[in-house]
Symmetry: C2
Subunit: 283 residues, 2 copies
């Protein structure tokens, strides 16, 4: 695996206060030394590695009182491939270790609470990999573009989010925030495909074009949100996503890296193995 | 696929009021015309079919207001392979369409409520496949074997469960109840493996032998529960599980069958496709 990446995604895709989305080539494959076919092979072999790491995370919480968890936050414009990441990257690991939640437009009840209320309710428990398909970032993205709240509120939310994520990290959750970055043209092609294929119609909504017509406003909102909330505790990664295979292999690598850094082994037995063998033999 | 099964699992594994667990060969492969190698091939090809059916179920709820869902209830003695079913059968479909819940010994809060309270909170929403790793059946299994409640309470629970499941079915949930049935000897071999392998120690608990020593009480409790709650609305299937490959391919087939009976197509567009193509072109 090591040779596959000339530069690790944790470095090459890491967003900073200076990140300019417009200067990132959405069809590029930063750091990856290979073509689509090789990328798919890497995805396949990485699945086994990710799966083993997930099981160790899970085991650690169940048998060793471990409190660590991982949270993958997926944000993107429509059609950028969030669903494909869930299916092809997250889908490789044991479903019992995954807590997936898709955030929709907030309900009345959710709106009656602080914007982080509904997010806290869906955080991964110990040993789990949480996956947010959209997240609290919608509250500084669509909320900003559609002027759902005041500019002052948006401003204060950046700070609240940074505090919230720092608190999460301190309590043992490793946060991996991913923006899947596609081009305006690529979105057009993908929406056209959804309109062409009856088995994809259910994924299409007339609102998709309304949002698309606000593309540059959304890009600006994403850029500001990323600049303001890409912290050491919870960095953003901007993943070029015009090539689906690249986005998948890059996000898989980010997850593997996050889990490897936890450096978890198999929990030691909390019982006397020889005694239990004798008990079993006698049973 | 049709030729793979001489007799469909929905027929050959269906439990009735007369089901006697002791007379079922746990190493048999009822209805399946093939060996382990072929079984693994069938599991692989079935994964694509299951995945497509799950997507249609999900799409139906999202785009056509569908209210259908599926609930897989997994019950078994320790080591029988519930986890393997989740990983290898359920794990083949999109994680965003799965709601998995493992029921542990009830908490104080849960005990303060009716035994179905915590179960209702984990039911799959529209379009979802719910997976219960253990379930409300523990309340007539361990509760009976360990005399946690009176015999009268156990009796009334059978009826409450039947009513509850009938209500669920009427509201659109297809319930598939599976008991993975292993032999006493097979459990011994599997526990021995857990004790031999440090990477499996986390799955072992000293309580496993305590439960094992109550084997025949548990078999009786299972048998009675199955006889009393295998209804047309929510039938039980007793799946011989000494051969893991068979149990997996059989449960996969039961799920495929449940989904096929819903006879779902792709939801029709709720928008004018041509109009949207024009809007997209102009965007």
């Amino acid at each position: 695996m090591a040779k596959t990446w000339k530069t690790e995604p944790t470095e090459s895709l890491r967003a900073t206060e200076q990140t300019a989305l417009g200067s990132i080539d959405t069809s590029s494959t930063p750091g990856f030394d290979g073509d689509k076919k090789y990328g798919q092979q890497v995805l396949e072999s990485g699945a086994a590695r990710l799966s083993e790491l997930q099981e160790k995370l899970f085991a650690d919480s169940r048998a060793a009182g471990g409190t660590r968890s991982v949270l993958l936050v997926l944000q993107a414009m429509d059609t950028a491939g969030k669903g494909g990441i869930v299916r092809h990257v997250v889908g490789a690991v044991d479903p019992q270790g995954i807590h997936h939640h898709a955030f929709k437009a907030p309900t009345e009840e959710e709106l009656a609470h602080d914007f982080l209320w509904r997010v806290r309710r869906e955080l991964p428990g110990a040993g789990m990999i949480g996956v947010f398909d959209r997240s609290h970032y919608e509250d500084v993205l669509v909320a900003k573009v559609r002027s759902l709240v005041s500019d002052d509120t948006i401003e204060s939310r950046y700070a609240e989010i940074a505090d919230f994520e720092e608190e999460l990290t301190a309590s043992g959750t490793v946060i991996v925030k991913v923006m899947l970055h596609i081009s305006f043209d690529e979105q057009k092609a993908r929406l056209a495909e959804r309109l062409d294929r009856p088995d994809k119609h259910w994924k299409y909504s007339t609102g998709d074009i309304d949002e698309r017509n606000l593309w540059s406003d959304y890009q600006k909102a994403y850029e500001t949100a990323i600049q303001r909330t890409s912290t050491d505790a919870a960095p953003w990664y901007v993943v070029p996503a015009d090539r689906k295979w690249y986005a998948r292999v890059a996000v898989q690598r980010l997850l593997i890296d996050a889990l490897e850094k936890l450096d978890l082994g198999w929990p030691p037995a909390d019982f006397n193995v020889e005694t239990e063998k004798i008990r079993l033999a006698a049973s």
